[in-house]
């Protein structure tokens, strides 16, 4: 079975925007691959004027939130790096026992979410308050900002919102165009099994992920040498 790959547009985000942006993108992807009986849930982003849809499964939510937390901690250790999150959908097939396991994962779709996390030049001396009122978010930082800086931040956020919308449109377009590779829906299965990995621009981690994928797909042991 061929594995369809989709590379999403790179988004420039600040560290406090990571959670919302990733949640939006990852949930949108999984929603289109949760083909079992679901009750969709509309979620409004707090930082952007965007509503996305979740499939409503708690396990999915938990998995995505854990991934995002890991990603954020990774970002804190590796600032100023372009990063990539990969969502891989797979089928579990029982094949002849191999050296490693008798169940193999057959990946049929991969999504690459590209983020460029901007380094925060100014850290607020006090905590930042996010106060929401009638759809307008007021953010208070310890240090007062100049008008220029706030305008720049505002325009950057507007652009990010537009880019995020483009990414969501891209996801919808992709899932519409390519449907043949999606495996059949099994009874009782709500969403297609998936995993989320975080290859980075550094080679070592990326290489390990490739190796892991080879092992799961039942690669020949000689490939390890």
């Amino acid at each position: 079975m061929n594995c369809e790959v989709c590379h999403l547009k790179e988004l420039e985000v600040e560290s406090f925007e990571i959670r919302e942006v990733l949640r939006c993108i990852l949930h949108t992807i999984v929603f289109h691959r949760a083909l079992g009986l679901i009750r969709p849930k509309d979620i409004d982003l707090e930082l952007f004027d965007i509503t996305y849809v979740q499939c409503g499964e708690i396990e999915v939510e938990k998995k995505i939130d854990e991934t995002i937390e890991h990603f954020i901690s990774w970002i804190e250790k590796h600032p100023n790096k372009k990063s990539q999150i990969c969502v891989s959908f797979y089928e579990v097939k029982s094949k002849q026992p191999s050296w490693f396991n008798n169940k193999q994962r057959s990946y049929w779709e991969q999504w690459y979410v590209n983020l460029n996390v901007l380094h925060q030049t100014k850290s607020p001396s006090h905590h930042s308050k996010l106060v929401m009122d009638t759809g307008v978010i007021y953010m208070f930082c310890g240090n007062p900002t100049t008008v220029e800086a706030s305008e720049e931040r505002s325009s950057r956020r507007t652009m990010l919102e537009q880019s995020l919308q483009e990414v969501l449109f891209h996801i919808i377009k992709f899932v519409n165009e390519k449907k043949d590779h999606v495996p059949p829906i099994n009874d009782g299965v709500i969403y297609c099994p998936f995993e989320i990995t975080m290859p980075s621009s550094s080679d070592s981690t990326f290489g390990m992920d490739i190796l892991k994928r080879m092992l799961h797909s039942g690669g020949h042991p000689s490939m390890l040498s």
């Binding site: 929603f31 849930k41 004027d49 929401m132 009122d133 208070f140 996801i171 059949p184 829906i185």
Partner: protein, 567 residues
């Protein structure tokens, strides 16, 4: 979806097509027309009586509104296109603009070659599911969704923009006039081949709706407050009116709030800037947009519900960005119940407020109320909390709905004050009965479904200090009527005690001396007002009654394993 086993594939494919239209219609209109949205509380994927129509395409949308059912019954021929227009109309300007046009159709089967498509219904069904998923997601991304939310959120304020969003479903359409089409964009979903034809969905939409001026607040970018002065979490009872505006608004059934001074608006007080209509209750915190972020289930916020004509002090606890809300009845607007910690703050800072409606916080625990027995804030909160609960009977007092708890001994929450609140609210959903027999007969206190803000075990002697007026006759009669020992519940006994204390004439101002008398020490002298008015024997008799009551309570508490501190 469970297809009938004996149905041939072609029959199943026909079913897929015939059910696709109403499902698509439901998804589109559900996201655009608030009146056609399914109730949040009804929708549940795990409900055993989930309708079959809701299971189609594995997408639970909730009960289909009657209007949609009628539309579905109208569209019987699957070969007819279904054209759904989303229109913005302005009644005053006689202006109609189609901002979206959705076209759902089953394309002419003669065009398709039968060999190019896989006739297996499972695969077709899977693709149709994916198509509808993307349709569902797409409806949230288009500008009309925001416009719909803006319009529905402005309903509470009499729709400041004047626009209404309506829909029209037809099987043919007028061609767009050239000026309109220039501003429209088109998106076509990839068709799903359903032999012998294919299902197609497309949308033509206006990408920019700023011309309509539907509402400015949602499109504003975040602003940074450089002179941020506080938050509701730190100073909840403080008003921060809008600048340059003195405001008088009807807040609670015609009751007026004092005019506000011109100060910088607080982050949660943006609603102050909207002048309310004369007969409208002003509740800026309860604008649906206020709960925009906490909305997770597709339901809209509320507005204009008569239960929630609250004055602004009924603020949510904690940070305003995460207002807690508790929906206590389907169909009603949620009521925010602050935590006891916040309640303590409210109670302690109550000096600025004398109106019961301003501090509608329930007395959670006598422990918290004990700190400020002079607070007059808690009962109105109970009133509002209880008025939004379903199935509440208006009978009985507070103890009827708070099982296992004792009433606070703060006798300033007397019924005279409370009834004043009721008359102002105009919603006699419950009453505070002063009749001891009524209180004593309320064994509903054991109802486990009720959450009681009172802790029965926290009856405190400080409450007895409040009994400045004791009516001996009422006391003795009420005891005899309401406390046949061994029959009535402990809670009823406490209620009777409180009632007696409230109705009792004042003894003396020195409460410590009074306490000494209650513990059995004989009072001497004629200093108190009570001793002036009554004889010593009367006092002794009353003391005896109290002792009996105390013994009763102690015996009851021992039997229940609790501990009372009634002295």
């Amino acid at each position: 979806m469970d297809f009938p086993e004996n149905l041939p594939d072609m029959g199943r494919l026909e079913q897929i097509v015939s059910h696709f239209f109403p499902k698509a219609l439901h998804i589109i209109l559900d996201s655009r027309i608030p009146s056609l949205q399914s109730r949040v509380g009804v929708r549940s994927r795990d409900r055993p009586n989930l309708k079959k129509s809701d299971k189609w395409f594995n997408l639970v949308m909730g009960d289909r509104p009657a209007a949609l059912e009628k539309l579905h019954s109208w569209h019987r021929n699957v070969l007819d296109s279904m054209i759904i227009d989303i229109i913005l109309i302005h009644p005053n300007h006689d202006d109609e603009t189609v901002i979206e046009r959705w076209v759902v159709q089953y394309e002419n089967p003669l065009i398709m070659s039968p060999q190019s498509s896989d006739p297996r219904y499972q695969k077709v069904y899977k693709k149709a599911i994916i198509l509808l998923r993307s349709l569902h997601a797409q409806t949230r991304l288009l500008p009309a969704y925001r416009a719909s939310r803006q319009l529905s959120s402005s309903l509470a304020s009499s729709s400041s923009s004047g626009y209404e969003m309506v829909y029209k479903v037809s099987s043919f359409s007028d061609v767009f006039s050239p000026p309109v089409t220039e501003t429209m964009k088109e998106f076509r979903f990839t068709p799903v081949e359903v032999p012998p034809g294919r299902l197609c969905v497309s949308v033509t939409y206006r990408s920019d709706l700023s011309d309509f001026n539907l509402g400015a607040h949602i499109t504003l970018p975040p602003r940074i407050i450089t002179d941020y002065v506080g938050s509701p979490a730190t100073d909840p009872m403080r008003f921060f009116p809008s600048p340059g505006q003195s405001f008088e608004g009807a807040s609670f059934q015609g009751r007026r709030r004092p005019p506000l001074t011109t100060e910088r608006p607080h982050s949660w007080s943006s609603g102050f800037q909207r002048p309310p209509t004369p007969n409208q209750s002003f509740s800026p915190q309860f604008s649906p947009d206020f709960f925009h972020s906490s909305r997770t289930d597709g339901g809209y916020g509320y507005g204009g519900d008569s239960h929630h004509q609250l004055s602004p002090p009924f603020s949510p606890s904690g940070s305003p960005s995460t207002p807690r809300r508790i929906s206590v009845r389907p169909g009603t607007a949620p009521v925010t119940i602050p935590s006891s910690a916040t309640f303590n703050r409210y109670v302690s800072s109550s000096s600025n407020f004398s109106e019961p409606s301003r501090n509608p916080l329930p007395p959670f625990s006598p422990k918290s109320t004990r700190r400020s027995p002079s607070s007059q804030d808690s009962l109105p909160g109970i009133a509002l909390y209880k008025s939004s609960r379903s199935g509440e009977s208006p009978s009985g007092g507070l103890m009827n709905h708070y099982p296992g708890h004792k009433l606070t001994k703060d006798s300033k929450y007397d019924s005279g004050r409370f009834s004043g609140l009721l008359s102002s609210s105009g919603s006699p959903r419950f009453g505070f009965s002063r009749s001891p027999s009524r209180l004593s007969s309320q064994d509903d206190l054991d109802d486990p479904d009720c959450s009681c803000p009172f802790d029965f075990d926290d009856v405190d002697e400080s409450g007895l200090q409040y009994s400045q007026s004791l009516d001996r006759r009422k006391t003795s009669s009420s005891i005899s009527q309401s406390l046949p020992i061994g029959r009535k519940s402990q809670d009823a006994a406490v209620g009777v005690l409180v009632q007696m204390l409230k109705t009792a004439p004042p003894l003396r101002q020195d409460s410590s001396t009074y306490m000494a008398s209650m513990s059995g020490v004989q009072r001497e002298g004629t200093e108190s007002e009570f001793s002036m008015a009554r004889s010593t024997s009367d006092a002794l008799e009353e003391l005896r009654n109290y002792k009996q009551l105390k013994d009763l309570l102690l015996s009851k508490s021992k039997s229940f394993g609790g501990e009372t501190r009634v002295h």
